[in-house]
Point group: C2
Chain length 646, copies 2
């Protein structure tokens, strides 16, 4: 490595990088550090991408049908016949959302989640709302999915129940560590369980449909007791409520559009194909489960899930295949959290880059992932799990509102984008807010599709908010505006800072005309003399200051100073109330009041450096206390000169 | 107030004190600050001194008799007849201890607790053992007395029981605040309850003895059930065990000898008289209670205390006088904690002055009391109360070992002192370790008295340790050596520090020949330029250093530096692993390796000063992290130049 030659005369000198990455205890936990130059290689293909980004969406098939049937149950057993049409409507909505997002992915090859689309097309406030909604929902995704997965396990093994919170938090930490290792490894770690889940579900579907077509599919034996009383008739509101509940199947669909940069080139193409795969699988699974569930007459129940009833009816017994389905479902639910771990850090880094969140979130850790975002998500989700005691029932009403809010904003933004594109001349291309607008002959059709999607998802969100308000949805409706205010405050700070520090209208102040140095003297010893030696380097204008709390002691200091003080004046400040910091502040205030412009004051504090940490407890931290007390004073610099005892 | 004239030419300048003490929120809580000059007036007379220092000793009469009877109960009801002779033996021991301490008080007018006596006569290690034993026991005194007082209250009002820990901690805080106000006020606050207790107890004694002499004293009616089975015969061990248990009456006797400096002049005389008063009251109360308790045939019980049985039998009903006795007992037990609050801070300040505890403990707070010692005691005692859930039964086995250990050391030290005095010529006076040894014709008698006391208290301690080892005494036998090791380590640190800083063999190093300044540049803005302006004041030898984690960003920094950098060389350090601190450290290490002797390096870090606390969360604290990383490096000074945005 080239050392710097001070006589080289170069104004700017670049130094090459070290070859070997630093190794710490973290290397053992999350792998050796990766250089920034390695970044492009850390991307994933379509098959792994499906596993990483789709587990959230696919896992929702585990509960979406059940949620529809729960609502319809209040209108009696026959009302369950409405479930299949409702599911078809939901799949239609899924199709609309999928096409909308595919258009977004093509328009935003660098990642086009709801936040970016809202920001580019609707402006700052909608972008902040979308961002706040998404961040909230990612945190909830982790809490709900993990809690739900653990609930599956504890239903099978009841003795685990008392440890569910600890187990859930442990799972969060495990997924956090996998994600801290980096996206490629986490893709591999999650591909196998995702594909295992798909395999088990399609075997169930296939066997179930075969038996249905050959007339061998029986009704559910020993169905759980019906707990819901028939109290209502089938109304439009009831059907909309069931529809809204079923749309939880759509949560997670937006994940891929946020994660485009993680895909291998050509990114937009790969991400778009993966989205279509995911939507097709999700739609057919959801329709298949709903169809078969109605045929075998499942009963929605907290005791036994629809998946469990379906699997044991299709396979006619609680055998190996049944256990395989249950295990795969539990695992995919826990892993759905991984989708949030893939997207939350990216979104928060994006928003931090725009100055809406602390800049530190843009920092990539040793493994090139946004480690601070990953850790923040793990902490917040664990907190929710602990507060709600890993209860899915308590968490679920908070969930999904944010998703549909961001869907509406994203699709509304796209619709407005098509409107703007429609106003261009044919073949005209304009750049607006960093994205390219290019005339498209199909703009009317696309605008209608996106606009219709936006209206639908907005209605779904409204129904969610109204029907679940008192169950907990109010918390989210409160948190999102608070988050938006926070984002705005952070943004204002960074904007003010940039303005305040700007050099645009900056005139260099005149050279400093006087440099006063104040040296604090507690006692006369080698440490004090080292600080004095340093102070003499800074200026000839030095005043030593001693705070006298004990007359005998300060007499001794004065005496010794005459011998060792190099003729520098010592001011003894009486402190009748035995205070240390306040007399110094008073003294500095007086000097400050008479200070000339372009005069600067440096306070030199000898600071003892302990050789063991606990030695700190044996010393008054004057330098630190003074630094805290004086930090708001312009033109005053505190310098602590360390001294060590070998 | 005189301002400093820099042309005055005086080497040492004294500045007068401010007249008005600073007023803060603390003034409201503990009173306005007192000037150091007010100190001598904050002393107390004999009557108040008795209340402040004797509540601990006097309160032990509330349980000492009961503790004797508990042990004798295992040898059957008739064995209780041994209680009175045992009490006489304990009072004899009390007399010996009292005379020993009176001699100590005369020899040590500035305070002569076990710590000082051991230090002056036996040396450093015995002094540390005595100190550790006393500190442990003061903490236990607070925990035990408060818990016991609260237990009295909760026995009467059972609904308070669930809140006993909170109530006990609240009491500790209350007594802490009273003590933080200062000794005079706390004396007044505690005098009334102490004298109320004495009044109530002597009324009980008087009425009881009158009835006994007139033949009207009945046996206890409805005595509590005897829970202890008769399993042993009367053995010497049993009697010694009962004796040891009864000697809890002696805990607190040493308090006055530690507190002599709090007394009004003539201090030794006043303290000595107070000690005699206290011992006489304690002895007669203890004998009276034991005598009457046997006459009325009390049953030792956890359900009803001996005091309660005695009071209701003497007053023939549970009337106003009975309730007065119970209330006074509860109050005196809670107040016994105050004795520890009077002595613990003084002892810890004394030991800190000798360099065995952190020096900060010698600091007198705004009210001229050792506030840090008072707060430390409150914290430690509260911790014990919380850990042991305010259970007296759990705390009591830890108690009293420390007292008797310090008694033994103190009296042993005095015996050795008389031995040394005996070896002087008549009328010879020598100064040894700060105390005066003067020939005394009675040295043999006094040596025997002290030596006998030392042996007796040592035996008592041994019996305590053996009979209560498994109940919890082992904790104390473990903690005291650990504390002694801690005290030694602290002492070693201060001694090494004083040696290392000593100017005795110090030769002033040559003037610093080169002052290199390294200026950290994260971006080019007004804050950076302010730091650059300051750096140019320090030296002409400046290197600006920029850590490059992002190529585009550092290109911009280089470009802007060419415009604003005043021709100062900028070194760009590539950081491929996106680290901030490590590349700077590497760079400094390289410069350091080639550093000449008498060359000093100052690292100037521009530090953003937020106008709101939460803005700190939005910035990386580079200056602070660097300071932590470089603090162990001699010859490197970190200066952070603050910049504010208005």
């Amino acid at each position: 490595m080239a050392l710097i030659d001070k006589d080289q005369g170069t104004l700017v000198l670049r130094r090459p990088a070290e070859k070997n990455p630093p190794r710490t205890w973290r290397s053992w936990l999350i792998g050796r550090p990766l250089a920034t130059a390695d970044a492009p290689h850390q991307t994933i293909g379509k098959a792994v991408g499906l596993a990483v980004f789709a587990s959230d969406a696919l896992s929702s098939t585990a509960y979406a049908t059940q949620e529809i049937l729960f609502v319809l149950a209040v209108a009696g057993a026959t009302a369950s016949g409405y479930a299949f049409p409702i599911s078809i409507a939901i799949v239609a909505l899924l199709t609309i959302v999928t096409f909308s997002y595919r258009q977004t992915i093509n328009a935003y090859p660098n990642g086009g989640g709801a936040y970016i689309v809202s920001r580019d097309n609707l402006g700052e406030l909608p972008a902040q709302i979308a961002g706040a909604a998404l961040l909230t929902d990612y945190i909830l995704t982790v809490s709900v999915s993990i809690s739900s997965g653990i609930a599956q396990i504890t239903s099978a093994f009841i003795w685990i129940y008392p440890y569910r919170v600890e187990l859930a938090v442990f799972m969060v930490i495990l997924i956090m560590l996998i994600n801290l290792r980096g996206v490629k490894e986490s893709g591999m770690a999650f591909a196998i369980p995702t594909y295992f889940f798909l395999l088990m579900m399609f075997i169930t579907m296939g066997v179930g449909l075969f038996r249905y077509l050959t007339g061998n599919l029986d009704l559910v034996l020993d169905a759980p007791a019906v707990l819901v009383e028939t109290t209502q008739s089938v109304t439009l509101f009831l059907l909309l409520h069931a529809f809204a509940n079923g749309t939880t199947a759509l949560t997670g669909v937006e994940a891929i559009s946020n994660g485009i940069p993680a895909f291998r080139e050509p990114r937009s193409h790969n991400a778009g194909v993966t989205l279509i795969w995911m939507a097709s699988i999700l739609g057919s699974l959801f329709l298949g489960i709903t169809f078969l569930a109605i045929q075998i007459g499942v009963t929605p129940s907290e005791e036994e899930t629809v998946i469990s009833q379906l699997a044991r009816t299709v396979f006619t017994e609680r055998g190996g295949l049944y256990l395989g389905v249950i295990a795969a479902t539990a695992i995919i639910l826990i892993m759905a959290a991984n989708t949030a771990f893939a997207d939350f850090p990216r979104l928060s880094a994006l928003m931090a880059g725009d100055g809406f969140l602390p800049r530190q979130l843009t920092y990539r850790g040793s493994r090139l992932v946004y480690s601070r975002g990953i850790i923040s998500l793990a902490l917040l989700a664990s907190l929710l799990i602990i507060v709600f005691e890993a209860s899915v029932t308590a968490l679920i009403p908070l969930y999904a509102i944010g998703v549909f809010l961001s869907f509406s904003l994203s699709q509304g933004g796209m619709a407005y984008r098509w409107y703007k594109i429609g106003r261009l001349w044919p073949d005209q291309v304009i750049e607006e807010r960093g994205s390219t607008l290019r005339y498209d002959t199909q703009w009317r059709f696309k605008m209608v599709v996106n606009g219709f999607g936006a209206i639908c998802t907005f209605i779904v969100m409204g129904i969610f908010a109204v029907t679940k308000f008192s169950e907990g949805a109010w918390v989210v409706l409160l948190i999102i505006p608070i988050l938006v205010l926070m984002l705005s405050a952070i943004h204002r700070h960074y904007r003010d800072l940039a303005g305040g520090l700007s050099l645009r209208k900056y005139a260099a102040p005149p050279r400093i005309s006087r440099h006063r140095v104040i040296l604090l003297v507690a006692g006369v010893h080698q440490g004090t003399l080292a600080a004095l030696r340093y102070a003499r380097l800074l200026s000839d204008d030095i005043t030593a200051v001693h705070i006298s709390t004990n007359a005998d002691e300060s007499d001794r200091v004065c005496q010794e100073w005459e011998g060792w003080g190099n003729g520098i004046r010592l001011v003894v400040l009486d402190s009748p109330y035995r205070l240390l910091i306040e007399p110094i502040l008073d003294y500095i205030n007086q000097i400050d009041a008479r200070r000339q412009p372009n005069e600067i004051i440096t306070v030199v504090v000898p600071q003892f450096v302990p050789s063991r940490w606990w030695h700190n407890l044996l010393h008054t931290q004057t330098a630190f206390l003074l630094q805290v007390a004086l930090i708001f004073r312009p033109g005053i610099v505190i310098t602590s000169v360390p001294y060590l005892i070998e």
